[in-house]
Symmetry: C3
Amino acid sequence: MFNPDKRQAYNLEHGDALRLPAGTTSYILNPDDNQNLRVVKLAIPINNPGNFYDFYPSSTKDQQSYFNGFSRNTLEATFNTRYEEIQRIILGNEDGQEDEEQSRGQEQSHQDEGVIVRVSKEQIQELRKHAQSSSGKGKPSESGPFNLRSDEPIYSNKFGNFYEITPDRNPQAQDLDISLTFIEINEGGLLLPHYNSKAIFVVVVDEGEGNYELVGIRDQERQQDEQEQEEVRRYNAKLSEGDIFVIPAGHPISINASSNLRLLGFGINADENQRNFLAGSEDNVIRQLDKEVKQLTFPGSVEDVERLIKNQQQSYFANAQPQQQQQREKEGRRGRRGLIFSI
Amino acid sequence: MFNPDKRQAYNLEHGDALRLPAGTTSYILNPDDNQNLRVVKLAIPINNPGNFYDFYPSSTKDQQSYFNGFSRNTLEATFNTRYEEIQRIILGNEDGQEDEEQSRGQEQSHQDEGVIVRVSKEQIQELRKHAQSSSGKGKPSESGPFNLRSDEPIYSNKFGNFYEITPDRNPQAQDLDISLTFIEINEGGLLLPHYNSKAIFVVVVDEGEGNYELVGIRDQERQQDEQEQEEVRRYNAKLSEGDIFVIPAGHPISINASSNLRLLGFGINADENQRNFLAGSEDNVIRQLDKEVKQLTFPGSVEDVERLIKNQQQSYFANAQPQQQQQREKEGRRGRRGLIFSI
Amino acid sequence: MFNPDKRQAYNLEHGDALRLPAGTTSYILNPDDNQNLRVVKLAIPINNPGNFYDFYPSSTKDQQSYFNGFSRNTLEATFNTRYEEIQRIILGNEDGQEDEEQSRGQEQSHQDEGVIVRVSKEQIQELRKHAQSSSGKGKPSESGPFNLRSDEPIYSNKFGNFYEITPDRNPQAQDLDISLTFIEINEGGLLLPHYNSKAIFVVVVDEGEGNYELVGIRDQERQQDEQEQEEVRRYNAKLSEGDIFVIPAGHPISINASSNLRLLGFGINADENQRNFLAGSEDNVIRQLDKEVKQLTFPGSVEDVERLIKNQQQSYFANAQPQQQQQREKEGRRGRRGLIFSI
C-alpha cells in the first residue's frame, strides 16, 4: 500500500485494520500459498453518497486502465513518446481507444488474468522487504494498521469476547467518526439484548453460524383508529459466513451462536456512542430504574422485577439455552442418580 | 431522567432546558396536582432524517415493550428464567409474542393506563429525593438543565424581552450547534423586522396570541419573459398557543402581539448566527448604509431616508400600532382640550 | 461590502478573493470607466441545498424590496410613520403591496435601472474613501480579502503556473473547507493528467481557450454477462471564456491550452486533498510503484516502463504537442541543412 507522498508497505495479520485515504493507489498481496485472505472494506464515497468507482492504472480482462480514457494526443504529450510505444508498454492493446465507440466490446487481452494475478515467490520476497508490521499493543498511531484485538476486550466471559476500537481511543477512528468491533460469541452463547445510543453498525459474519433478533417499530399506516397501540416488530435472521446486516441506532438486538461465531462491525456516527444492555448483572438499563419507577412501569411487583433481574448473573454474554441445559442437567442428574440406585 | 452511566434526576422549572443524549431512557414527572406541565422537544434523528421512534421497556395500551420484540428462547436466556415468569413480571400479557402474526391486534391490557400514569404523593416524594435543580445564574455547565432566562435578555424594552442561549455561550448548545430563544412580546408590541444570517428557527407559541409576517421570494415558473421582476411574497398567519412555525435563514420576519405573547425558539445551524434588524435605532441594516449608497438605493432623497429611519426611536421591540395610538391620543387630547375649553 | 457589526469596505484587485458570510448586505462598485469587472461567486446555500435567493432592501425593475413583503400596518409601526411617507422614500411605488394578488404583475418602475446602477465620479470617490486593500503577501488574515497569487505557485514551469490557497494555509478557506486555485496554462501547454484524492473542483474559464479530458467509468447496465470488463469513458470538451466545468474527486483529468488559458477553481471538501499526477518527473503515481508491481501491472517489461516514464522530463505542466514539434523541428533542421548544402 502506498500514497504518493511516501510509499508505505505493511504486513497485515488477522484482525488488523488499515485506513486508506481516498485516492490512494494500493495493492494487496497474499504471501501464503495455502491460506485464503479475506478483507472487509468500508468505503466512504465522496462525490455521491452510495456511489463510487475503482480506477486502475493498467488494463486486464476485468477493467480498463484510466490511461485509456485519454486521447492519443494527450497521451503522447503526457509521456513525450509516440503512441505506439505507450500502447505497447502501458495500455497493452493493439488499437487503443482513439474513439469511444470503437473501444466498446473490443478485446484487450494482453493481460490474461483479471485484477488478481499470480505472484512468484521471489517477487513476494522482494515486495515484503520494506513492509512494516502493525504497531501491536501500546499507544495507537496516527497512521498505519492497528489490530482490533490490541486492547483487552471491553466485555468478556466464558460465552464470548467483545473488542472495540472507539473514536476516543484511536486517532484514525476519530477522524472518520467510526468505531470497529470484533465480537467472538462461543457456541451456545448469547450476546444479551442491548441497543446503541447513537451509532449505526454494519456487521459482517467472519466465521461461524448463529441468529440475530432486532427490534423495530411497526411502521403501520395510521388507520381509522388513531388510538391504536404502537407495535414492536421483530426482524430476525440466520447468520452464516459472509452475511452482512445493519443495526440502526436505538434498536435493541440480541445475537446467539449456534457454532463459534466471529463478527466484524463498523460503527458509523460512533463518537460518544453508548451500548445500553437491557439485561445482565452490570450496565443494565432496567436494573438502574428507581424502585418506584420499576413499580410504575412493570405489571409485576417491585420485588418480582428485582428478583427477575438478579436471575441473570452473567453480563453482556450469557448461555443461549439455560432452560434446556438445566432441563438436560436435571435429567442427567436424575439419570445418574437412577444409575447409582440401580447399582 | 437518567442514563446508564450515572442515573441523574433533576427538578425542572419554567424555562429550563435539558439535553437528553440519544438513547437515554428517561421519564418526566409532574409533581403538581393542579398545574399542567408542558414540554417542548426538539428531536434530532440519527438513523433517518425526519424519522424516529420511541422505545419503551414496558407495554401499555398505547405501546408495546421492546422485550416483546424478542423470541421466547431469547427472553428465557436473557433473564435466565422460564418464559411464564417474564410474561407475568415484565411483558404483562397472557400470550406473549411468540409469533409476529399472532401478536397483531392482540389485547395487552394489563396496564390500563397509557404512557402517562398516575403517581401517588409518596412515590413523588421518593422520586424527588435525589433530584438536583438547574444551575441558575453563573457559568453554564457541561450537562444538566439550564434556564433560558438565566442571563439578561439580549434585547429588552417596555414592549418585550428577548432571551437567547447561543452556542458560543453554552457548551451544550455548542455541541448541538443550536441556540435557544425565549421571546416575550407584550400586548401591542412588535418584534421589528429582522432576518437571521444563517440560523433556521423553529418557534413554538407558549402563550398568548399574535401575528407574524415572513418575507420570501415568489418561486415562479420562469415564463416567456425572462426579464420579469423577482417578486417578494408575504407569508403571514395568526398565532395562538401551541402553534409552530419555521423561520428560514435570511428571510425577514416581524411578529406582533395581540395579547402578551411568549415564544420558544430552537435555532438550528446557530453558530455565529447574526440577527440583522431592518429598522430601529440600533443594529439597523439600512441605517449603516453609506450616505451615497442610501442615495443610490432608495427613491427618496438621502435626507428623507435618514429622517425616516430616525423616526423609530425604539430598538428590536416597538409599538405595533403607533399611528392608531397617536390618532387616539390626538383625538383624546383634542377631546380633553375640548373639554377644558368647555370649562 | 459590510456587515451590521462593523461596516467594511475593501479595494479589490484582479485575483482577490473575499468571503461574504451568509446574510451580509453588500454592494460591489466598479470604479473604472473602461474596464469590465468580473466576479465569480461560490454560493453555499443554508436552508435548502441547491436553492438560494437574493434579498434587496429596495425595488428596481429587476426585483422587489423585502419591505414590500410587509403589511401596511407593520411598515407604519416599523418606521413609526405614515405609510405614504414610507412608500415615497423607501418602497418607491404608488400602490404598495397591501394585497398579494394586487401586487402581481404590477409595475414598480420608479427606479428605471435594474440592480446595476450608474454611479458618478464624486460618489465613487466618496465610497472608496475608507476602503482597505487586500493584505498582500504575508500571514493570511482571519477576514478580509486575500489574493490567490499572494504566495508562490505550487507548480510552475515555462508551460504554466498553478496557484492554490488550501485550508491548511488560510483560516478563511479552512472555515469553509474549500480551496481556491488560479491556473495559468500558456498557449501550447498541457496540465498533465492527475486526479484529486478527495476534493471536488468547480472550475471557471477566466480567459483563453483550450480543451479538457476527464476520465470516468461507464455506468453501464449490468447485462447478461456479469464478467464484462469495466470500461473507462472519456468526457472531453472545448473550453472558452465563461465556461464552467466540474472535476469529481478521484477522476483523472488533463487540460491543454490552445491560447493562454486562465482558470479559476473552487475545491469543495478540500481539507487534506492531494493532487496525484499520473505522469511527470516528480510526484508521479506510476513512478512510485515498486519495480515488481510495475512488472506485474503493465504489459511492457519493467525496463520499458521505467524508460517510458523518464521520457517526460517536465512536471505538472508540459508541452501539449511535443511529437508535432519534434516533427517540425526535425523537418526544420533537415530543411536548414538542405539549405546549407544548397549554398
